[in-house]
């Protein structure tokens, strides 16, 4: 499926099949979650990252079903198609954004998502404690979501942020790597 086709589908589904809420409710809810985690883990941002990833993973496992039901997307032929589906349809129907797919490795197993907008991070400025900007990935929940969702469609991936404007970087970039396809391999039996 081409990028344009995916974009069209994403736009159409967003317009016609998605129940919507005020964006600020979502932004503020996420902000409340992250702030609470930082409090609970007493500024251990590495733990917060882990927790956000875990939460995202739990979401991803359930989100994929919702996604497939709403979009009727068939199986992606290859990882490149997966990337377009994620960016033009996946992010579109949930967060109304379409991060740019770029920086493919030559083996087509790794790509980047560049976020021009990130509704989860609206209004946010990281604590000026000398550590948050070096340690916290504010939107880390998104990495977990991708990991969980793709696992449910037989792809084991790694997703992590390489940069974030909240950290003073020029872009917010997530790196997604296909580690392997998960086959339901039956052990050779001698029944």
């Amino acid at each position: 499926m081409s990028s344009t086709k995916a974009a069209r589908i994403g736009e159409e589904v967003w317009k016609t099949r998605i129940d919507k809420v005020n964006a600020e409710l979502v932004t503020l809810t996420y902000g409340s979650i992250v702030a609470q985690l930082c409090k609970d883990f007493e500024g251990d941002y590495m733990e917060v990252n882990k927790q956000l990833d875990k939460m995202g993973y739990n979401i991803g496992l359930r989100l994929i079903e919702d996604f497939l039901a709403k979009t009727n997307t068939g199986r992606c032929a290859n990882f490149r198609e997966t990337a377009e589906t994620i960016s033009k349809i996946g992010f579109k129907v949930f967060l109304n954004i379409t991060p740019t797919v770029t920086n493919w490795t030559s083996d087509n197993k790794q790509f980047s998502l560049i976020f021009d907008e990130n509704p989860l991070a609206d209004f946010v400025e990281l604590p000026d404690d000398g550590r948050a900007q070096n340690e916290l990935w504010y939107s880390n929940i998104l990495c977990g979501v991708l990991r969980g969702a793709l696992e449910m469609v037989q792809m084991q991936v790694d997703a992590h942020f390489a940069s974030d404007v909240l950290r003073g970087n020029d872009t917010t970039e997530m790196r997604v790597t296909l580690i392997r396809m998960i086959d339901d391999e039956l052990p050779p039996g001698d029944d």
Partner: protein
């Protein structure tokens, strides 16, 4: 203006300088004209292309929308996470209330700011409750609250009614926790708006049986005595 040197001076000075507390001005080092002394040195980095939160227009996402599913998934995780930390429904609801509280504090200021030059602070109970039932509710949930009632038995109690709280729409509460109402999150939002406007109270969410509205929730608002006293004076 009280006499600063009076021993029974009622004011509590907020300067950290101890000699000032005695009411005697000293040669305190003056606040520098160019850089206030109390600002810390900032370690914050900003993207060269992007500006800070202060450049972002406050109304930019006023009418923006995201999928309801996104909220539902996040809210679900918030509940799961809180559940791990507490034992008991009341404590869980308290945790959700606290998370909503932080949001209410922000919405109070943001929504009044958005009313522009005609913005007015609410000084009466009915006024602030209407603000919540109309302005706040419309902004968050796209519709006003379904009802606002004053208790007939208790002077200090009011009820805000929601026939089908948006936040509960994707939550299925297990039978053994049927007392739980996750709209405690919204109760926190409401409580923060009331507290912030100087109508201190406690707000709790209660599931109410209704054949017509199976998800009906009543937010019970219990005001502190001081609120009633003031209302009486302002009458």
């Amino acid at each position: 203006m009280s006499n600063l040197n009076a021993p029974n001076s009622p004011f509590v000075p907020f300067s950290p300088n101890p000699s000032i507390q005695s009411g005697v001005p000293t040669a305190t080092p003056p606040l520098s004209a160019s850089k206030p002394a109390q600002l810390g040195s900032s370690n914050l980095r900003y993207a060269s292309s992007r500006k800070s939160i202060y450049d972002r227009h406050l109304n930019r996402t006023q009418r923006s929308e995201l999928s309801k599913a996104s909220f539902a998934f996040l809210f679900g995780e918030m509940i799961q996470y809180a559940q791990k930390q507490v034992s008991g429904i009341q404590d869980l609801e308290k945790k959700l209330n606290i998370q909503g509280y932080a949001i209410g504090q922000r919405l109070l200021e943001l929504l009044l700011y958005r009313e522009g030059r005609s913005a007015k602070r609410e000084t009466r109970v009915l006024g602030i409750l209407q603000f919540i039932a109309q302005t706040l509710y419309r902004h968050l949930f796209g519709k006003p609250a379904d009802g606002l009632e004053k208790s007939r038995e208790h002077e200090d109690e009011y009820m805000l009614i929601d026939h089908d709280p948006v936040v509960n729409s994707h939550i299925s509460v297990p039978k053994e926790m049927s007392q739980l109402n996750c709209a405690a999150f919204v109760a926190g939002i409401i409580e923060a708006v009331l507290d912030g406007s100087l109508f201190p109270c406690r707000v709790t969410a209660h599931s109410v049986f209704s054949e017509q509205f199976p998800s009906k929730t009543v937010f019970l608002i219990k005001f502190e005595e001081s609120v009633l006293e003031r209302e009486a004076v302002l009458q």
